[in-house]
Symmetry: C2
Subunit: 305 residues, 2 copies
């Protein structure tokens, strides 16, 4: 079955600790890799998890805080060393692109490896990537600096042919593609065979929304409405709700409330404050609001299929 998997490379906040790396995830969609955020050490985690640089062509940076992008110079330089003639697209706010370009133009000046910059504007809602099977959209989050989230959506899949019916009505091979796409079949005798008689529903389309960093805001639930799996930051527990809002972050309970409002099937929480020696409390508080909560952890792989 087609692969749609989330790999957690880092789920800590602010600074790396003995327990957690700074923010970084990889979405593995049918063996194409998409990185979201790139904290320091991302390239080492990437290698440790057995991922291949040659399959990584897009990096999405949510905002310009160091713990979400200080791994970029190392990652991009290593890619430049490994695939001299390759390229990668970095989706990032304008000032981040400027700062990154200054460094890469200097440190990779002897490599033809190409870095393409796709500028995300503050508060922008746009499709930032699309191929035959996937779209990636960006949407605004509500942090203390401009911050955008990303939604990965699998495109609709072809309907399943009913072999017996197809054979019975003598559908020519040349028409099978359009039938899979939902077309009815008109027989030579003029009789119309409705698509529903020839096919059954396709597999459901999976989707994944990345929401870090942000305070709790119902506009986020609106933007990710109906998504299958949500990653939402959960930096603090209930007792820190006030500090969370001041600092533009969320509590685990608030993350669960957003997942609930969005009608999501599953919630992954992360971006844990280093004050916690265990995330049990965060898990409990989120689970009181939302049924299917997963605690992010370095090395965790979540299969969306």
């Amino acid at each position: 079955m087609a692969k749609f998997q989330i790999d957690i490379l880092g789920c800590g906040s602010a600074t790396p600790t003995a327990r957690h790396q700074p923010s970084c995830q990889v979405v593995n969609f049918r063996d194409k890799l998409f990185m979201i955020d790139c904290g320091e050490g991302a390239q080492s985690q990437f290698r440790r998890m057995g991922l291949k640089f040659s399959r990584l062509n897009h990096v999405f940076i949510s905002h310009l805080h160091g713990d979400h992008l200080f791994g970029l110079p190392g990652l991009l330089s290593t890619m430049a060393l490994h695939e001299i003639s390759g390229s990668v697209t970095v989706h990032i706010f304008r000032e981040g692109a400027r700062l990154l370009k200054e460094w890469m133009d200097f440190f990779n000046r002897n490599s033809p490896f190409e870095i393409i910059y796709d500028i995300i504007e503050e508060g922008e809602r746009r499709t930032v990537y699309e191929d035959s099977g996937l779209t990636v959209e960006t949407f605004p989050l509500y942090h203390r600096t401009p911050c955008n989230g990303f939604i990965f959506r699998e495109k609709p899949k072809p309907r399943h042919l009913r072999g017996d019916a197809v054979k019975f009505h003598g559908v020519p091979v040349a028409m099978l593609k359009s039938i899979k796409e939902g077309a009815d079949f008109v027989r030579e005798d003029g009789r119309v065979i409705p698509n529903a008689m020839l096919t059954s529903d396709p597999d459901p389309c999976m989707s994944y929304a990345y929401c870090s960093d942000t305070m709790m805001d119902s506009r986020v639930a609106e933007d990710i409405k109906g998504v299958d799996t949500v990653y939402h930051e959960a930096t603090y527990d209930d007792s820190m709700a006030e500090q969370a809002r001041e600092r533009g972050h969320s509590t685990a309970r608030q993350a669960a409330q957003i997942a609930l409002e969005a009608g999501a099937r599953r919630l992954i929480i992360g971006h844990f404050s280093k004050r916690y020696n265990s995330e049990e409390l965060l898990f409990r508080e989120a689970s009181e609001v939302f049924p299917d909560v997963i605690l992010a952890n370095e090395g965790l792989k979540v299969d969306l299929e």
Copy 2:
């Protein structure tokens, strides 16, 4: 006894691997910490080795290749978070200071933590740090981009008093300091007691030279002449001597030859190419030339006393 210790945080080359981190060392001189080079992940290694950010006030960068400084943004941002009102001096080539300042001015813009830049000029020989017990000098290395090494020298220690002789000749307490510094003692009856009768030699002064990255060059041996312990890069084995020179690097044997020419007591080799799954070969080839060779390794602590 006064502490003078070298901590190896990273001794790999080019890119981090499963076996080695990029270049980073910490010189611990009487609990003041001095970092030499700062590859990606340095701050995590620093913490892992139980070192204290509050004791780190100087970072020396040998040259402007990413594997020697991509850890700086993370390290400096973490220090800015931890010791809001502190400061650190980064000793680095001019272009490196410019690029680093651009990033830090943006990413640490809300912190009063101060970063002082000490510009090292290409090929410069100069004392870049001095306190009551230590000097740090910089000197040129011979890589494919401007590169400088660093020598840490303990200042001369006071001579040891011979308690019996001091007592016998009735040396007043007020004079003991000057006697320890080598002065003779003139008794009231005018007789001069030579210092040698009142003191014995002080403990030897330790010194440490850091030489990475560089091709083998006798000018390096000249610059570090008489140093106690030498770290010299040993990227390759004998069979790669030609590539080593082309790439501005050294073989393990060449590193040992430089240590021998310099009259050093001990050699630490590192900056290993990722082509080696074991550095045994490098150790053997260096040991054929020089008696006391140590293989660098992450977590290794070398006590110079």
